[in-house]
Structure formats: structure tokens, C-alpha cells
């Protein structure tokens, strides 16, 4: 998969694998999830004091939910333009993210990851494991999608510095260690060697 940012700031994604395109297509629904565990991640507690929190929930949370819904629509409209690449290496797709939509896309990706993390019930320890090791298909898929969406968000941030990026999400599909070069810098060190909280 390749990301290129043009002179207008639009990001052109090509060579997007089918399974990743499917995951990306789920982002709006993840933002709109009604799962209480996802909602808790998307609209977290703000005050320790219960009265303050109740007031915040009444006055501010609706605005937050409206913003999230608006972002979901923005991403949904961009994803509607997802197109199959007839001359691609296989079942790959292309997508353009307009410059004006990049901030919404970035926030939406992080929100989708939060939603998935909350609704899947994955523990922090499980996040460090490889998809396929959790012994539960739904949780393994959730972990894989979290990895992909996080990697794509990282790519979106990095392409703004570099202008062009050859990502390895397509390679990750066949990588049984799944800690490969998701930072896309070509040195293959990925992120699993780095400290995490």
C-alpha cells in the first residue's frame, strides 16, 4: 500500500488490500457504536465529582457525540469513493483523503480504535500479543483491526512529513510475528520494541 500527499495536501492511498479496505469501511459504524463499552471510550468520564459529571454529561456530551457523528459522516462520504484498482496487483483499492478531511480522518481512526478496544474487552496484556494467539476469533480480529487502523493513522501522520510512504499493511497480513515494519521507515523495526505504558 502506498500513500502520497500531493501539492494540495490531499492524500492518495493506492494498493489498499481488500481486508484492510473492509476494516476502514467499518470506521463510521465503530464511531456510532451503541455498545456501552465503546461509548465509555468515546465519551469518557470527565469529572471525579458525580454532580459535576452529571452536568457535563447533560451540557457537553451531546456536543461531543454530535461531533463524532459528523466525523463519521465525513469519513463515510470519503469511503464511498473507495475504488477498485483494475490494474492493481490483486484485489486492491484506492482512496483519496482530501486535505480538508485529514484532521477528521485522523480523529475518526483514533476513535474507531478506541471503540474497538472498548467493545472487544481486550486487556492491555492482550494488546501486546499477536492476532491468532487469543484463542477467540472475534477478539483476534479486533486485535488485528486495531493494529491495522493504528498503523494507518501512523502512516497518515508520517506522510505529512515525508510526502510519500510505502506502507506494509499488506505485508502484515502474512507476517506471523505481526511486529514488522509498521512504522514504514523500511528498517523493519516496527513498534513492538518500543516502550509502552
Amino acid at each position: 500500500m502506498r500513500l502520497v500527499m500531493d501539492e494540495n495536501g490531499d492524500v492518495h492511498v493506492t494498493g489498499m488490500p481488500l481486508l484492510f479496505a473492509d476494516t476502514l469501511g467499518r470506521v463510521p459504524a465503530l464511531l456510532e457504536s451503541e455498545d456501552p463499552r465503546a461509548r465509555e471510550r468515546l465519551a469518557p468520564r470527565t469529572f471525579e465529582d458525580d454532580e459535576e459529571e452529571a452536568q457535563w454529561r447533560r451540557l457537553s456530551t451531546p456536543d461531543l457525540l454530535h461531533l463524532i457523528a459528523s466525523r463519521a459522516e465525513t469519513v463515510r462520504s470519503d469511503l464511498a469513493a473507495l475504488r477498485w484498482e483494475p490494474d492493481g496487483p490483486g484485489d486492491t483499492f484506492a482512496l483519496t483523503i482530501p486535505a480538508a478531511h485529514r484532521p477528521a480522518f485522523e480523529a475518526a481512526l483514533n476513535g474507531a480504535v478506541q471503540s474497538l478496544y472498548g467493545s472487544s474487552g481486550l486487556s492491555q496484556e492482550e494488546l501486546q500479543r499477536n492476532p491468532g494467539e487469543l484463542g477467540d476469533l472475534d477478539r483476534d480480529i479486533a486485535l488485528l483491526r486495531i493494529r491495522w487502523l493504528t498503523a494507518f493513522l501512523g502512516d497518515l501522520l508520517m506522510v505529512q512529513e515525508r510526502g510519500m510512504l510505502d506502507d506494509t499493511i499488506d505485508e502484515m497480513e502474512g507476517d506471523d510475528t505481526d511486529d514488522g515494519d509498521i512504522d514504514g521507515d523500511g528498517d523493519g523495526d516496527g513498534d513492538d520494541d518500543e516502550p509502552r505504558a
Binding site: 471525579e48 457537553s60 483514533n110 480504535v113
Partner: protein, 104 residues
């Protein structure tokens, strides 16, 4: 937070911004606190701090690292109304942000 990118610059000493002029009008200051979570990219957090608070990269990165290493960071202190606005922006970008009264 998940690590994606390595620090680009040496982190400089910083201080938490306080809107003291506003404080004298509306009372005690409030802290905007950002908490660590295991799925948000560190570089994304840095970018959000730069966008929301207009912090330079070095300061934004230092605060991000404090979140990552200690579990939380007071990223802004000041008048309650502005603090609430900052929390709304941080939560709108899906960072785990809370408000707490600043110790006197």
C-alpha cells in the same frame, strides 16, 4: 500509548501555561489532565497537543512523554471555562482527558 515514531528533537524544559489574568476574575484554576491509554499513538498525542494548545513540538512532545511514562499529565491550567473548552477539543480527538481543580 503506542509508540510509532521516535522523538525528533531534544525535549526542552517547559512549564505549564496558566492564564492568570483570567483566574483573578473567575476564581480557582482548573487542571486539564490527559491520561495514558494503550492504543493511542504517541505521535498523534503530540500533534493534538500542538493543535489544541498551539504548543511548540518540543513542549507537546514533553507532555506526551509525561503521559506515557507516568500515566497522566497536567497539560494546561487556567480558568474553568477555557479548561472545559480544551477538554472538549481533546475528547473530540479521542484522548482521555479530565478536569480537576488545581491545588491551591
Amino acid at each position: 500509548m503506542k509508540t510509532l515514531l521516535r522523538p525528533r528533537t531534544t525535549v526542552a524544559a517547559t512549564e505549564t501555561e496558566t492564564d492568570t489574568a483570567t483566574l483573578t476574575r473567575v476564581g480557582r484554576p482548573w487542571n486539564v489532565v490527559v491520561h495514558d491509554d494503550p492504543v493511542t499513538l504517541m505521535e498523534y498525542v503530540t500533534k493534538v497537543f500542538m493543535e489544541v494548545f498551539a504548543y511548540p513540538h518540543a513542549k507537546a512532545q514533553e507532555l506526551m512523554l509525561e503521559v506515557h511514562q507516568t500515566g497522566r499529565s497536567v497539560v494546561w491550567t487556567g480558568a474553568r471555562e477555557r479548561a472545559e473548552g480544551h477538554v472538549q477539543k481533546l475528547q473530540g480527538r479521542h484522548l482521555i482527558a479530565t478536569l480537576e481543580p488545581s491545588p491551591e
